[in-house]
């Protein structure tokens, strides 16, 4: 699928075909999309995930996780959960990861990189080696980096023709169920499965105006959206019909009947 179409098609899916398993190759593809995302210092061991699959993971583990995610219907239905987590111990590998980047010629002397520079200038600098400074910044950056991986994983799921969504839950309970160590924090849980609702889930969700989000040169000065670009993005499927489409209420009623949910 074209990238713009994938971005345009992404929705938070809230109704899944619980009866249709997800092919292992598709799950692996989603995880690869996360693994390959950009990462500060290439310290990729900070973002990890536990995959839970209906019929493969023991029922008691899956049921406990459903409870930890407030028994939401979409969680009950989704055949796959990807529990994304931040492993703060992954920052321990920053020095080696940087040196490896020198070895593979990604970090070069053209930009002042050397192994000596890493030891004497980078590792002691809390702006770069976040574990050398304020813990709040380290946690913030870790969450940011994990989010990058999850963002790719969401788009990969759409590209594979799947529905996907992020949900939250009781993190302490999730950590306990999955035997995560103390230095690991479960973040959002990515649900994956074939959508039981129409893939466009009733239309594209409301978003703030472009000009309210992006500024030109100075904070608060709107960066203007070009109507010609908007037209091109509509043609490419990135900007789509806004929600709700006219038949959405009927679709929700039908789904409620299918899953025995209140309307």
């Amino acid at each position: 699928m074209d990238f713009k179409q994938v971005v345009g098609n992404r929705r938070t899916i809230r109704y899944f075909k619980s009866w249709q398993p997800v092919e292992p190759a598709k799950i692996q593809t989603i995880l690869e999309a996360g693994r390959l995302q950009s990462q500060h210092g290439n310290a990729k061991l900070i973002r990890k995930a536990v995959v839970i699959e209906r019929g493969r993971t023991p029922d008691d583990v899956r049921d406990a996780l459903i409870d930890a995610m407030y028994n939401q219907p979409q969680v009950q239905q989704a055949p796959v959960f990807i529990v994304w987590a931040i492993d703060m111990s992954g920052w321990d590998g920053l020095r080696d990861a940087l040196k490896e980047l020198i070895e593979v010629r990604a970090l070069n002397s053209t930009h002042g990189w050397s192994k000596e520079f890493i030891e004497t200038a980078v590792i002691p600098n809390p702006d770069f080696n976040v574990m050398a400074g304020d813990n709040t910044f380290a946690e913030w950056l870790s969450a940011f980096e994990c989010g990058l991986a999850v963002g790719s994983a969401l788009l990969a799921a759409v590209d594979e023709g799947l529905g996907t969504a992020l949900v939250t839950g009781r993190r302490a309970q999730i950590r306990q169920i999955l035997d995560m160590p103390k230095f690991v924090t479960p973040t959002q849980v990515q649900l994956v499965g074939y959508p039981a609702e129409s893939p466009n889930a009733g239309g594209q969700r409301p978003s703030p105006a472009f000009e309210n989000l992006y500024f030109s040169g100075k904070w608060g000065v709107p960066l203007r959206s070009d109507p010609e670009v908007v037209a091109r993005l509509k043609g490419a499927g990135m900007l789509q019909e806004p929600a709700p489409v006219p038949w959405r209420t009927d679709e929700i009623r039908a789904l409620a009947h299918l899953f025995g949910l209140p309307e």
Partner: protein, 112 residues
């Protein structure tokens, strides 16, 4: 509780507004209100009392959710018919609570 008192309850009015917003016909709305009134008789409480006591606003925690969840299941099981028909009856009560900002666990189908 008279029909007039029932209809005057703030929680019922919220529920009716929600049903109308979802495009349910007058007949569909009336059918649901009849079921809600039956449930109120079943638990011996007014709609406003039910919403007030299920959740403790001060502590922001549910305090009688299990009670209502169990009563809804019993109420659903009172009628003969399929699982879907019985669940639909209980879901009227769940919808009433949802319209008033409270959530009861849904009934999970066996096949799920």
């Amino acid at each position: 509780m008279t029909q007039h008192e029932f209809a005057a309850c703030a929680t019922v009015q919220k529920y009716v507004a929600e049903l109308a917003d979802k495009g349910l016909t007058e007949a569909e709305q009336q059918e649901r209100l009849t079921i809600l009134a039956e449930f109120c008789n079943f638990v011996g409480r007014t709609p406003d009392q039910m919403v007030a006591e299920i959740f403790d606003v001060e502590t922001q925690k549910y305090r009688k959710r299990t009670f209502y969840s169990d009563r809804v299941k019993e109420f659903s099981a009172q009628i003969p018919g399929t699982w879907s028909a019985r669940t639909a009856r209980g879901n009227v009560i769940r919808s009433f609570f949802i319209a008033n900002g409270r959530r009861l666990p849904n009934e999970k189908p066996e096949w799920l």
